[in-house]
């Protein structure tokens, strides 16, 4: 295995991990506020189609990315209204959002199937990108840098800023947070919107960078993986980052194993990422102390202020 090949594999893994990172960091913030939004897949699909449509129509990829963020937020707002204002069940509403998003994206995207997209070029940071080995970390596409920046930013926000403290307080005990005078609904709504924006970005990454094209259901279950990664990372951004890389790694390496001719049925290799996720989820959840310290205690519970 040459250094060049290793670098190629690492780059591929980072690319595979980026959409997962976007979506799971967004969901992490949503869940930290106590809301479980299972509609990531639907928000991603909408982000992918709107991102592609805007980029293709205007010829401006940056505008496409903005469009994707707005599309994700619009979907999230729908979810927010239903679950936070109408206090509907979050699990079922999330599933509805997925269904709705996949369907609507298919309808909207009808005109954009089979159209080549623009794509985003990689950005090499001078000097740093010439470094041996770690140089590849400075030759990524702009959205991957953004994903890393968001991860660091979220980590900083959650544990170093007052806003993050309020967010976590709302997620851990909405009644106490309410008693302290915080608007639980408003905080949660913002967290849901942030999650939607990130899912939209994840979708845009798929349709503008990963494979610059739009096709129906091109998210192919990545939204669900992102949800699993949040638990996997015990609601900590840095662990989610590791999880995204690990998952991306397993799904890429199984393809390499096939190309090398390992002789294991490809279905088993394709199942590997899912089995890995289950195993890791079990290992993580066995460690009760770790989980309890970080799980938002009010996750999935609706809040209606009594007055």
């Amino acid at each position: 295995m040459t250094a060049l090949m290793l670098e190629g594999i690492l780059l591929t893994i980072i690319t595979a991990a980026t959409p997962l990172l976007f979506a799971s960091i967004g969901e992490l913030v949503t869940e930290r506020s106590g809301v479980l939004n299972l509609g990531v897949e639907g928000m991603m699909a909408m982000g992918a189609v709107i991102g592609f449509a805007v980029a293709h129509t205007t010829g401006n990829v940056a505008l496409g990315v903005v469009g994707a963020i707005l599309a994700g937020m619009a979907m999230a707002a729908l979810f927010g209204v239903v679950t936070l204002i109408f206090v509907a069940n979050q699990v079922a509403s999330g599933l509805a959002l997925t269904l709705f998003g996949l369907g609507l994206s298919g309808l909207i995207g009808d005109a954009f199937v089979g159209v080549p997209g623009a794509g985003l070029a990689r950005v090499s940071i001078p000097v740093l990108s010439d470094l041996p080995v770690i140089g590849l970390l400075f030759r990524l596409d702009p959205l991957t840098y953004l994903a890393i920046a968001i991860t660091i930013g979220v980590s900083w926000f959650l544990f170093r800023m007052r806003g993050g403290l309020i967010l976590r307080a709302v997620g851990d005990s909405h009644t106490s947070a309410h008693a302290l005078g915080y608007s639980v609904i408003r905080v949660r709504f913002m967290a849901v919107l942030f999650g939607g924006a990130c899912s939209g970005l994840a979708g845009a990454y798929l349709s503008l960078v990963y494979t610059p094209q739009w096709t129906q259901a091109m998210t192919a279950g990545r939204g669900w993986i992102a949800l699993a990664l949040v638990v996997f990372g015990t609601w900590l951004p840095r662990r989610v980052l590791v999880g995204a890389l690990l998952f991306g790694g397993v799904s890429i390496l199984q393809l390499h194993a096939q190309a090398l001719g390992v002789g294991v049925p490809s279905q088993f290799l394709s199942a590997l990422p899912y089995l890995t996720t289950i195993v890791v989820l079990v290992i993580i959840s066995r460690n009760r102390a770790l989980v309890r310290a970080n799980t938002p205690a009010a996750l999935g519970q609706s809040f209606v202020p009594d007055r």
């Binding site: 299972l38 639907g42 729908l78 209204v81 239903v82 204002i85 109408f86 206090v87 509907a88 069940n89 699990v91 079922a92 509403s93 599933l95 509805a96 959002l97 997925t98 269904l99 709705f100 998003g101 996949l102 369907g103 609507l104 298919g106 309808l107 009808d110 403290l165 309020i166 307080a169 947070a177 302290l180 005078g181 915080y182 608007s183 129906q216 279950g221 669900w224 949800l227 699993a228 638990v231 049925p265 279905q267 088993f268 394709s270 199942a271 899912y274 089995l275 996720t277 289950i278 989820l281 079990v282 959840s285 066995r286 009760r288 989980v291 209606v304 202020p305 009594d306 007055r307």
Partner: protein, 385 residues
């Protein structure tokens, strides 16, 4: 001044019946908006006979009327179509009845699709390995094996949840992909029909290995399982202590715990029930409409059943009505493609909207809208430090 939700003194019986209808109405309105917006967006204003914005809206209404007819009414106008409806609704309702138990007790089995696949696999075991076996016992044995398979597979997320506290939503969902890939491997590999020109299907089942049909129609007796299961489920929920425990643990877990009800036992029990019914649905498909083991057995019944369970307000009898409505939307969706050339995605959009509105409207059972003239929330003084 703003509008707020206020908790009702007690559950509104009227709203419990009205809310699904209200949701349906809102879905129809939402659908109209989408179709009309579509017309307006696609409007070709340069064309001389376009009729402008008004013409587009009018055209949208006409389209929508035709669409509603093809979607909701036409499938009910012929016997063969009704038979199709029953065949399509059967597996969905079976699964939804089982899921109602889970969701009522606040456990989340999202993996019924995988349990259907496993039920189909275990249900196929006998006719694949003993193709000559006929007689009165083969079919019941297949169905029971299917149920056991579904139960065993559903017990994995349940046991992981009980033993390690692992999130069952995610494990049950991941297991769907695993089961589907395993089924794919079986159908293409070891269980492939040796006389099938290397095409990826098992040998076709025949004779007593297939579910009989009723009164010379295309309806298979599996439709009776639906009614048996619905009645049994209704009885279990309404009249037994277990049913009471499920409901208490779902609505007020702490109260349930004080009363000495075991949350863990309920998780396992509800997963086993839903797994058994999903497995039965899988086995009924391979012994019924499919007639062999294929690389995919269910086109998403396990996920559709989640909508059906909620639409039927987690009530087994409700699930029957909801199941037929959803099955209707599939048939109608196909009809709309043939007659009007509409995309199959329309069906999904409708299902998603319907579920959204049902969930939102359910709030009115326990809450009512009230107009508030001034903000009630006290201004923030306290600071969390």
């Amino acid at each position: 001044m703003r509008v707020e939700l206020v908790r009702r003194g007690e559950r509104s019986a009227a709203m419990a019946y009205l809310s699904p209808l209200l949701a349906l109405l809102l879905t129809l309105i939402g659908g109209a908006l989408i179709v009309i917006v579509w017309r307006v967006v696609a409007m070709d204003t340069s064309a001389p006979d376009s009729g402008g914005l008004f013409g587009a809206i009018q055209q949208g209404f006409a389209d929508y009327g035709r669409f509603l007819y093809v979607f909701f009414i036409e499938p009910l106008t012929a016997m063969w179509s009704i038979e199709d409806l029953i065949a399509k609704a059967t597996p969905i309702i079976l699964v939804a009845i089982g899921l109602s138990f889970c969701f009522l007790s606040n456990t989340w089995n999202i993996g019924a699709e995988g349990q259907i696949a496993v039920g189909a696999i275990t249900g196929s075991f006998l006719p694949i390995f003993f193709p000559e076996w006929q007689g009165p016992f083969i079919l019941p044995a297949m169905l029971i094996l299917g149920m056991l398979g579904g139960m065993a597979y559903a017990s994995i997320p349940a046991l992981l949840k009980i033993r390690f506290g692992t999130n069952e939503i995610l494990t049950s969902l991941m297991l769907v992909y695993v089961a589907q890939l395993f089924l794919d491997w079986l159908a293409r590999g070891p269980w492939r029909n040796p006389e099938g020109h290397n095409f990826p299907d098992s040998r076709p089942f025949d004779g007593d290995q297939l579910l009989p049909t009723l009164f010379g129609t295309n309806i298979r007796i599996s439709v009776l399982f639906v009614f048996v299961a619905a009645f049994a489920a209704w009885f279990l929920m309404r009249w037994t202590k277990t049913g009471f425990q499920i409901r208490v643990l779902g609505q007020a877990p702490r109260a349930g715990a004080f009363a000495g009800f075991s949350q863990k036992r309920m998780v396992l029990l509800t997963f086993l029930i839903s797994g058994a019914l999903a497995g039965l649905a899988g086995a009924s498909e391979i012994a019924g409409p499919v007639g062999q083991l294929r690389t995919t057995v269910s086109p998403g019944y396990g996920f559709t059943a989640i909508i059906v369970a909620f639409l039927g307000r987690l009530n087994p009898i409700g699930a029957i009505f909801a199941g037929f409505l959803l099955a209707l939307s599939y048939l109608g969706g196909e009809g709309a493609q043939i007659a009007l050339g509409m995309s199959d995605q329309t069906t999904r959009v409708f299902q998603g909207m319907l579920l959204f509105f049902v969930l939102a409207c359910d709030s009115f059972i326990f809450y009512r809208l009230q107009i508030v003239r001034r903000p009630v929330v006290p201004q923030t003084q306290a600071v969390a430090s």
